[in-house]
């Protein structure tokens, strides 16, 4: 079995430059403490503020924003600003925000619905899209006014950008310098496959992979980095090797006459030995019937899913950080005499809309607004540092009264939404937001308010909110359980119920996709916390 475990180790080399220096702050002379910030002389004249932007004006605003950001020691990738049209913005929307991506009908669907809503005026487009790449690409939309362009530059090119560079999840799980190259490679490879194997075959495999995309990430193990050069040079080897390994599943000849006792042990042995959380990885490496090109497509989808995994876990932190910084940078620029009142009013209006949190029951309510929560939290941390109350001192002894720049940098670097909220959500904010938690138990006829924003409830509300941002809590936990090596080679997946929450009706459909990839029958068991299997689904092999 040693061979098999070897297969599970991905041999793509780690491209990350210097893992040891990972979280060390690299740039010399960077301002790290708010106390070190130099306040420059007030500008004699504000920047011109006509309604329409021009390249020259954007440059001028950008250079002031850059200088201001540097004063606060924001560490960013180099910036690349690109002007695009609304239609291109919709294009970018449709391909999950990436400038290139492989072609798939679902992106066409996205585009159609985005376009339709936009045309009807149901939604405005986002003012910006920013891509976690090195250099960091920010899209500025043509239709924006100059004030909005300034807002977008501060928000995306400095806020998000520094988050991408600083946050530990992004540092650990994505490689900004190679993602564009990888996507170009992915697009070309998929196109090549379409030419060679037909649109239908490629579409089917992509559909199936997309169904499992959320379960195609390594949650606990640090993944290998994406890398173009290695991907290409090693692809062939990998294909051949993987195919060879798969043959283990096919083995019909006995592997030597072994002793009876060994045989027994062998038969009771499971495959895989441990349950596997990354379904796509398992399929890529072990599905017996996949062609080499199909394995590569599975791999591409898996890599892309992995790239987006940190983004899904840091919504509040990321948006909050960017919002906090555009707010802070633009206000500082105003204080320095760079911005006119008109520009201020314009971006503040937009800022206010963005951080609006409708209360529950409001017509516009659709859950917690990550911009609002994130912005409030960073602002609140700054407040706790600068003007702590007794309550703050009791709740945050480590933070109260310390240098705010240091603290929020630390917070931005070392947390994800779940832990960030668990660590930094203050009682004051819970009061401000009037947070309350509701317990909804199927066994009860009514829902119960389990905690509100009072002394007895702060910790409970905070815990509940933190859990709400735990991806493991939001998505069902489904793992590869076993493969019937001796019989029909059927694959069994197991859903471990979280708080006895069942799977939704889509499960059967997804299972068909799994069966398509696996090539043989697939079963799914849903087990409750006691380990009893509550429900089963099956999908037969597709010929």
């Amino acid at each position: 079995m040693s061979k098999k475990t070897a297969v599970l180790i991905d041999e793509t080399p780690d491209l990350f430059n210097d893992p040891a220096a990972d979280l060390a702050i690299t740039a010399a002379n960077r301002v790290l403490r708010a106390a070190d910030i130099q306040t420059p002389v007030r500008a004699a004249q504000a920047l011109p503020a006509p309604n329409d932007w021009s390249f020259e004006l954007i440059e001028r605003y950008h250079s002031v924003i850059r200088a201001t950001a540097q004063r606060y020691g924001l560490d960013t990738y180099p910036n690349q600003l690109e002007i695009i049209t609304a239609e291109q913005m919709m294009d970018a929307y449709a391909s999950v925000g990436m400038p290139v991506n492989y072609r798939h009908w679902s992106y066409g669907k996205e585009f159609i619905s985005t376009e339709k809503n936009y045309r009807r005026g149901h939604m405005g487009l986002a003012y910006e899209i920013v891509i976690n790449a090195n250099p960091c690409i920010s899209y500025l939309m043509e239709e924006n006014t100059l004030a909005m362009q300034a807002l977008v530059i501060a928000h995306a090119a400095y806020g998000h950008n520094s988050f991408f560079k600083g946050n530990y999840l992004f540092r650990m799980w994505t490689d900004a310098s190679s993602i564009i190259d990888y996507l170009v490679y992915a697009r070309n490879y998929v196109t090549e496959c379409e030419e060679r194997h037909g649109l239908d075959a490629v579409e089917q495999i992509l559909d199936s992979c997309h169904a499992l995309m959320n379960h195609g990430v390594d949650r606990y193990r640090r993944p290998s980095k994406l890398s173009l050069a290695q991907e290409q040079t090693r692809r062939k080897d990998r294909e051949a090797y993987a195919q060879q390994q798969v043959n283990d599943l096919w083995r019909t000849l006995p592997q030597k006459a072994s002793k009876a006792s060994d045989k027994l042990a062998e038969e009771s042995k499971r495959f895989p030995e441990e349950p596997q959380e990354n379904l796509l990885y398992f399929i890529e490496k072990n599905a017996p019937l996949l062609e080499p090109w199909q394995r590569e497509v599975v791999r591409i989808v898996r890599k892309v899913a992995q790239y987006f995994y940190p983004q899904r876990q840091t919504q509040v932190m990321n948006e909050g950080w960017a919002t906090f910084w555009h707010h802070h940078l633009l206000n500082t620029m105003y204080d320095d005499g760079h911005l006119t009142d008109g520009v201020m009013i314009e971006w503040l209006k937009s800022h206010t809309n963005v951080v609006f949190q409708p209360p529950v029951g409001h017509r516009a309510y659709s859950g917690i607004n990550p911009y609002a929560l994130g912005f409030a939290m960073y602002t609140d941390i700054k407040r706790i540092c600068e003007k702590p109350t007794d309550e703050d001192r009791a709740w945050f002894p480590d933070v109260a009264g310390r240098d705010w720049l240091e603290v929020i940098n630390h917070a931005m670097r070392n947390f994800k939404d779940e832990s960030f909220i668990g660590q930094y959500l203050s009682p004051k904010l819970m009061r401000d937001f009037r947070f309350f938690s509701i317990q909804d138990d199927e066994a009860e006829s009514e829902m119960e308010v389990s905690a509100i924003h009072d002394d007895a409830g702060y910790r409970k509300v905070r815990e509940a909110l933190s859990r709400q941002y735990d991806l493991g809590h939001r998505e069902p936990n489904i793992q590869v359980w076993s493969v019937n090596l001796r019989g029909d080679r059927a694959l069994t997946l197991r859903h471990v119920q979280h708080n006895n929450r069942p799977l939704d009706d889509g499960a059967q459909e997804v299972l068909k996709h799994v069966a398509r990839l696996w090539g043989f029958g697939v079963h799914l068991e849903s087990a409750n916390s006691a380990g009893e299997v509550k429900k089963r689904w099956s999908a037969a092999a597709q010929s």
């Binding site: 695009i84 066409g108 250099p135 409001h362 917690i368 947070f435 938690s437 708080n499 889509g506």
Partner: protein, 421 residues
């Protein structure tokens, strides 16, 4: 200093490949929708886009997700008056008071609706249709050529000789060839004048100089005034011209037996043919000829809406069509299409004449002639046409009795050669 990149002109329609894949995936539904639209639509609205409805389940992308049930705790902002331990009735759907998951199209749980552009609509509409004998219209066999001036060439026929160009070349050549000799001549002549001015000149020197001068003059004189290599001809090239003009003759029986319903069928047929031709030709003329016992050329309004009564002599329309085609639409410039709609009712002695007219005069002129009978019963005109259509490829005849049949009839008429019906 980083540059701001202007991407506005680049990469437009980046998503078009994705859209194509989307349309391709839902081809069947779109085909159905287009077919329904063609059946139900008003004729003048034919060349428009169409909203396509696709059931949500057909475009959903399933993923594993949590269903309702079990126990869960959710946090909401904006508590008004709840205290710990309050019990709240579960809202319908059990979504815990939230707004529910917004569907991706904003259409709730209904169909996914999107707009098929006019071009895409027509694309589906005309899908796998092609002009009959399209090969004949392809550039290679187009009988029409146009000659273009294309500069000058050194060979050609005398009538294309370009005198000025030729002479200009000759002068240049003469100057070039004689240059050295002429310079020498000028030098010697100057020398001669100087020598003559000199009182003590040697007569032998003078003689030698004069001899050299004479030789040079003779050489210069020997340079031809006009040489064959000077000749330049106007160059003309013949460029094949794809015929981009088509004329469509709409022939319709407006006798008493053609009621509104039948006229409407005929109209759809004409419109479809027209739309189809617009895809292949830049310029299309339409000639409307209506007939009862006599034929006359009318405008569109009168063609479809004026009511006439009386008997029917189909041949009158054919005669008029032939006459108009001969006088106004020479076949060297125009692709002629004929479309005739009738209920098949004809004065019985006339049908034979129709057949001979078609066979001998009209079909040779036409790229294609389509006859649509908007009634079921087969009369002598149908029989005659049937016999004729067996002999020739350019005549197609069909019957249709209600609007839904028009579309398949149309497809049938112009189906790609070789593709299954």
């Amino acid at each position: 200093m980083q540059q701001i990149i202007d991407r506005r002109l680049a990469g437009k329609n980046k998503s078009i490949g994705n859209r194509e894949r989307f349309l391709r995936r839902h081809k069947e539904q779109i085909r159905e929708a287009v077919k329904r639209a063609v059946d139900g639509r008003g004729i003048r609205d034919m060349a428009q886009g169409e909203d396509i409805h696709i059931p949500k389940r057909d475009i959903s992308e399933p993923v594993f997700g949590h269903g309702h049930g079990g126990s869960r705790e959710t946090v909401h902002p904006g508590n008004q008056d709840h205290l710990r331990g309050d019990r709240i009735a579960r809202p319908k759907g059990g979504a815990g008071g939230r707004g529910g998951k917004a569907s991706d199209s904003g259409e709730g749980d209904d169909d996914f609706v999107f707009h098929l552009s006019k071009e895409e609509f027509m694309q589906v509409f005309f899908d796998d249709l092609a002009l009959p004998n399209l090969a004949r219209t392809s550039i290679a066999e187009t009988p029409e050529f146009k000659t273009h001036r294309a500069g000058y060439s050194s060979d050609g026929t005398p009538n294309n000789l370009h005198v000025v160009r030729s002479m200009r070349g000759a002068i240049g050549r003469r100057i070039a060839l004689g240059g050295e000799s002429r310079r020498e001549l000028h030098r010697l002549e100057a020398q001669l004048v100087a020598l003559k001015a000199d009182a003590e000149h040697q007569p032998s020197d003078l003689l030698m100089l004069e001899r050299e001068i004479t030789a040079l003059r003779a050489r210069l004189k020997n340079i031809p005034y006009l040489d064959p290599i000077d000749l330049r001809y106007r160059s003309r090239v013949r460029v094949p011209m794809p015929t981009s003009k088509a004329v469509m003759f709409c022939l319709m029986d407006v006798s008493g037996s053609m009621d509104e319903g039948r006229k409407d069928l005929a109209k759809r047929f004409f419109i479809l043919l027209y739309l189809f031709l617009t895809r292949h030709y830049e310029k299309i003329d339409i000639v409307f000829i209506r007939h009862h016992t006599q034929a006359q050329e009318v405008d569109e309004q009168n063609f479809f809406h004026a009511t006439e009564t009386g008997g029917t002599v189909v041949s009158s329309a054919l005669v008029l069509m032939e006459e108009i085609a001969r006088t106004r639409y020479p076949t060297s410039e125009w692709n002629i299409y004929g479309a005739q709609a009738s209920d098949g009712d004809n004065w019985h002695h006339d049908s034979g004449r129709c057949r001979s007219l078609l066979a001998e005069k009209i079909l040779p002129l036409c790229r294609y002639f389509a006859y649509l009978q908007v009634a079921e019963e087969e009369q002598n005109l149908w029989d005659e046409y049937t016999a004729l259509s067996a002999e020739t490829k350019t005549l197609a005849i069909r019957k249709a009795t209600d609007a839904a049949q028009i579309y398949p009839v149309f497809r049938d008429l112009f189906k790609k050669e070789g593709s299954p019906a």
